[in-house]
Assembly symmetry: C2
Homo-oligomer: 354 residues x 2
């Protein structure tokens, strides 16, 4: 294993936000966690490709000063293609490129010799599969068993790992319902409001507004300073304070969840999650043990009434056993090892002296 | 010259529209014209990279079935990056890649050996200069002297050439004002309406609606079935019929024109153009000879009163002498030759037997 941990690994993060993000930025969070986790587990040659202001204990290489979501003077594609192509120009310096930045890096694959592992953090639209399908000979990891394309050859599912240092376990429940993440119809923020009203419980909503129209029409009219509050985006420290207030987290996603960092974070704080039974929710939550999988607002409201039967210690335990950074990186180590073995085999037939 | 014309040239067209476009599609039009012009002038190895349904007398290679503007199921970037990267994978088959598809192809330059000439059809936003400035050692052509970035090394300005076969010269003026192109604030469609009202002349507006809000608020309320008509996009045959009706074309662009195909097309039909004195308009129009350069709606309205003093033959003549496909391609031939000379010189220092 010593030799394995000397391999030169490039972690390609997105440049929408800083790595790690100040508040929102799911892919940057995971890319940062993988990087820190590798270093923590003794990997000696880890390089993070991210915005220049990113923070890492690995080596940092970047060309983009700030995330394009944080500095709107940038055209996202300009920063994206510069970041990716500049990283690809340095491919020869690495034994493996671990891509966490969607499909565009794959289009540079024919020009580089270094193998690339792509963690598919989600298919934003089915059409992006056209790029993946052109590169079926590359390496892929899914972030849940449910978020897979049937035509892609995956090496493994590696669940996202979260940083527990900012998530204190709270044995005593708070008295509010909490909904957080990006505010978007897909995440069912409006359904959380319905649940709160049905249960006559206070609700705190937090997160970036991804769809302003949605927020203005379906969310804002219901908010006030007491029973239904919107508090804006939260950084990790604010999130920890928010979860202290939580009786349960309401996560009635309307599209299949790909992984669901919010659910893992909530459980890490000991907060049970009531989630729509779509996509990966069934993999992240242990139904009736760390929360409830439901199919409607009514079922969610009923589940709120059963929250006291959830053992909050089991929520924390589920995360510790499945969704820590160490657990994730140990999963990726197995995948990296498999890739190096396969690459070695590829080389053998042409090997030997000329 | 025989040897020059045997060089293997790849023309990279955009894939927003078919090449040539059915109606709108400025860059595809020019890419198509360059391709056809090279073939017409005896180039033997010309390959057009465009949508699969494109039409050319050169060799056609494509991976994208239809333009992403014509088939909205596509994510533009997916089609764009597949088209470009697939073309780049075949770079070794060519002596020169002539890029007509903006900045993304430049990011593949470090991975290919074939020289690339980029015709910069316009800087959509200043931020895209970040990519160009990373590749100052590549080759560039501007489409007018006015549309240049001061930090880029241009080999030449090569004006766009238009296909005169679909543009009949009309010695007799029509009685309407005409405004066509893409309907957008930048093109001053609303100012054409003001001019028409001031002069009490009928106006026909044609073209694709690029900004629906702009059209709905500033254009549509003024249109009717008689004095101010909007007739939608026009294909080349419809455009020819439209220009037959034209007394003058009103082109009060609010941002510097990069080249202005509309102005050249209008003059080709013998129709004088009244244009804002911004950007390349002064290079395309001969002021007071083929039209009028103005600075306001009032000046434009006055210019309409002076249209009869324009000799429509001189409009046609200006195009024949400066803006034909043959003229354009002859310009590119000189640029290609210069590139091959420079590439030859680059190779020499390391040349010779080992």
């Amino acid at each position: 294993m010593t030799e394995l941990k000397s391999k030169r690994i490039a972690i390609l993060a997105p440049v929408a936000w800083r790595t790690p993000p100040r508040a929102y930025g799911a892919w940057e969070t995971v890319a940062g966690n993988i990087t820190e986790g590798l270093v923590a587990r003794g990997w000696k040659n880890v390089t993070l490709f991210a915005t220049k202001e990113s923070v890492t204990s690995a080596k940092l290489i970047g060309w983009i000063e700030r995330g394009y979501e944080e500095d709107k003077t940038q055209i996202p594609l300009v920063s994206t293609c510069l970041h990716i192509s500049k990283a690809m120009e340095r491919a020869d310096e690495f034994d493996l490129i671990h891509n966490n930045f969607d499909y565009l890096p794959l289009t540079y694959l024919p020009f580089i010799k270094t193998p690339m592992l792509t963690t598919i953090h989600g298919f934003s639209e089915p059409d992006i599969l056209r790029v993946y399908h052109e590169h079926k000979d590359s390496y892929y990891v899914s972030i849940s068993d449910s978020d897979r394309d049937k035509d892609l050859p995956y090496l493994a599912t590696v669940y996202n790992g979260i940083d527990l240092s900012n998530l204190n376990f709270r044995p005593e429940p708070g008295d509010k319902l909490v909904h957080y993440g990006r505010i978007h119809n897909d995440k069912g923020t409006h359904l959380a409001i319905e649940v709160a009203k049905k249960c006559d419980r206070d609700l705190i909503i937090a997160g970036i507004i991804q769809d302003q129209d949605y927020f203005d029409t379906l969310i804002k009219p219901h908010t006030n300073d007491s029973s239904i509050q919107y508090i804006g985006p939260v950084n990790p420290v604010q999130r920890d304070a928010l979860l202290k207030e939580a009786y349960a987290v309401i996560h009635l996603n309307l599209i299949p969840e790909r992984f669901g960092l919010v659910m893992a974070e909530s459980m890490a704080a000991g907060v049970p999650v009531i989630a729509m039974d779509l996509g990966s929710c069934r993999e992240v939550i242990a139904d009736k043990i760390t929360g409830y999988l439901v199919n409607s607002v009514d079922e969610a409201a009923q589940a709120v009434g059963k929250i006291d039967s959830i053992d909050r210690k089991k929520c924390r335990q589920r995360v510790e056993e499945n969704f820590t950074i160490d657990r994730m990186v140990s999963g990726y180590e197995k995948v990296y090892e498999e890739i190096f073995l396969r690459e070695q085999k590829k080389k053998k037939p042409q090997g030997g002296k000329r």
